[in-house]
């Protein structure tokens, strides 16, 4: 059963992302080697910088992301006022990257949070009560997982029209089954522990057992995975924007910036490289922190 589950999950979440089994390298040699925490600290710093600057973007001394500075295709690090250069319309790359981070983070975190809460609730009840409800949930999560996520997002964009709201709804739907499965599996594990049996023996009601005994024990493991999901969703958001099916221009997003800079890749690679590096660093940082969290959890379990 286990192998079959792993197998179908691997096929399903894949189109927009790599599955977990592959993302986390196997092999005891790797985990046994001591790893330095400095890269993790750098990753955390980058994310913090991104969050702070995008949250306070309006108060920072940035050029308006829609304004023409008068110099098109300025190379980065050649001007004090525009350290990251300008794009084909003379707009500030620094400002656009900061405002683009808003969309990426909002889409990634918001949809992961929605899927997290809804998926946790469904998985909790399905895993604890079992029976018909569990079977039904299993059937629907299997259905959602056995379908390319990008195609769901494309179909949504086709019918609802591209906008941030549609993107967030779509990304929540696509990541929902993963959270359902994770919380269900963790609920199954916790439900058999002695303290749950004890709570049941003392006559505690099911809602009370779920909220006081089971929930606190599954939030940790599931949210560890949530960090990686946010990274996956940020990639998905940028892919949609890049295809013109996500947040539309003139709103600056990393995907839109890359797609606009692409036509002049040969002459002005920086207009693709700047948003591309921002996107890559963010995804890499999130993955690194996710892996660090899981490694830490793995160690604390063993002690």
């Amino acid at each position: 059963m286990m192998s079959r589950d792993l197998n179908s999950t691997a096929g399903a979440t894949a189109p927009i992302a790599m599955d977990d089994a592959i993302a986390a390298p196997a092999g005891s040699a790797r985990s046994a080697r001591r790893r330095s925490n400095i890269p993790v600290a750098i990753a955390a710093l980058w994310l913090l910088l991104l969050i702070v600057t995008s949250a306070f973007a309006a108060w920072l001394p940035l050029t308006d992301p829609a304004d023409d500075t008068g110099h098109t295709h300025l190379t980065p690090f050649t001007s004090w006022s525009e350290p990251l250069g300008t794009d084909q319309l003379g707009r500030s790359q620094l400002s656009r990257v900061v405002y683009g981070a808003r969309i990426s983070l909002a889409a990634g975190v918001l949809s992961a949070a929605i899927a997290f809460v809804v998926g946790m609730a469904i998985g909790l009840v399905a895993g604890y009560r079992r029976g018909l409800f569990d079977d039904l949930v299993g059937l629907i999560t299997d259905a959602l997982l056995s379908f390319p996520g990008l195609v769901v997002l494309l179909a949504l964009a086709a019918t609802m029209g591209p906008s941030l709201r549609v993107v967030v709804v779509g990304l929540s739907i696509v990541s929902l089954p993963t959270f359902i499965r994770l919380s269900r599996a963790n609920t199954l594990r916790v439900s058999t522990t002695d303290f749950v049996t004890a709570a049941r023996a003392t006559g505690a009601s099911t809602p009370r057992i779920l909220s006081r005994e089971v929930l606190p024990n599954i939030v940790g493991p599931v949210s560890t995975y949530g960090v990686v999901i946010v990274a996956v969703l940020i990639v998905a958001e940028s892919s949609l924007s890049y295809l013109g099916l996500g947040v539309r221009p003139p709103t600056p997003t990393w995907g839109v910036m890359i797609s606009e800079g692409q036509s002049q890749l040969a002459a002005h690679p920086w207009s693709v490289a700047v948003p591309g590096l921002a996107l890559f660093s963010t995804v890499y940082s999130l993955n690194m922190i996710g892996e660090w969290l899981r490694r830490r959890d793995g160690l604390s379990n063993r002690i």
């Binding site: 179909a155 890749l265 040969a266």
Partner: protein
């Protein structure tokens, strides 16, 4: 076994119905009606009404869905709202590019990942292994359109080894066709290479600890022969499973790559249909892609169950 296959088949049909019905249902939630998408935003109300009548957009949801499904079972996916071309015809015309891309990517993934896995597994923990690990984690964090642009910049713009874009049909020139298809196929293959390499490496490391490997070594068999004949064969089972899954994944993966390289494949057809709100085309293509994806997944599951009977219990 028959019951297992029947169960999985039933689930496949259920998922397909669920997905296509959901697509039809979304239609009703569309802010602008499909008639406006066909006639344009400035069309007269009478024209819109005529279109609604002609296409049957006024019928209830279930009737429309039933009609579409009925046509599908007769092999008719309808005609594009925009070009009036049958959906099946456009699909068949675009299919060869996507198939070629998928096959080439699979070949590239195998050719590059198997030797890489053998070297990193044999020298696990070495500088080469750690370097590969860093490289593969970087690749995993690259969205495919970014990988594509990086490859274009390095190999097409700077080194001039490959054309930047443009698709030459095989019928015209095989070498030009392969030159044009190489970078797109490599982009699609990139994540698969990493997946194969990581899984196979982990498997090989386990196999290399077996007694019969030590036995082979003590008999004085050369390293390369041990790696290929003794270690690779038992380790390649999971690779076969992964390969089947990845064929399905590649199909979805080509969508973005076809856009970046402007290749005339099914993925671009889908994205263009989405952008033009050509909903009947979208519905047909969603059915097709989902169908292929699900059938391949099903075959992998069956193969898996045939190899490992424990899987069947559930």
């Amino acid at each position: 076994m028959t019951r297992f296959v029947a169960g999985r088949l039933g689930r496949l049909v259920f998922v397909l119905l669920l997905v296509t019905f959901a697509t039809t249902w979304f239609l009703d939630l569309t802010p602008s009606s499909p008639a406006i998408a066909i006639a344009g935003p400035d069309a007269q109300p009478e024209i819109l009404e005529a279109i609604n009548e002609q296409y049957g957009f006024n019928d209830p949801l279930v009737t429309r869905y039933g009609r579409w499904i009925n046509d599908v079972t007769h092999g008719d996916l309808g005609r594009s709202y925009l070009t009036r071309q049958p959906v099946t015809e456009s699909l068949v015309a675009r299919l060869p590019v996507t198939i070629e891309l998928t096959l080439l990517a699979t070949v590239l993934a195998l050719v590059l990942s198997v030797p890489a896995a053998m070297i990193t597994a044999y020298r696990s923990g070495s500088r080469i292994d750690r370097g590969t690990d860093v490289f593969t984690s970087i690749v995993l964090c690259m969205p495919s359109f970014l990988t594509a642009l990086l490859l274009i910049y390095v190999f097409a713009i700077k080194l001039h080894w490959f054309p930047i874009q443009g698709w030459v049909p095989i019928s015209r020139s095989l070498t030009d066709n392969l030159r044009g298809a190489f970078l797109p196929a490599l982009t699609v293959a990139m994540t698969e290479i990493v997946a194969f390499q990581r899984v196979l490496r982990a498997d090989l490391i386990q196999t290399l600890q077996q007694d019969y490997i030590a036995m082979a070594r003590s008999k004085g068999i050369s390293t390369s022969r041990i790696m290929v004949r003794h270690a690779l064969r038992p380790s390649s089972l999971s690779l076969i499973t992964l390969g089947g899954i990845s064929v399905a994944r590649l199909l979805a993966g080509t969508i973005v790559v076809e856009i970046v390289f402007t290749l005339p494949g099914v993925g671009r057809l889908l994205v263009n249909a989405v952008l033009n709100k050509d909903l009947i085309m979208v519905q047909g293509l969603v059915l097709f892609i989902a169908g292929v994806y699900l059938v391949v997944n099903l075959l992998v599951d069956i193969l898996y169950a045939a190899v490992d009977p424990r899987v069947r219990v559930r």
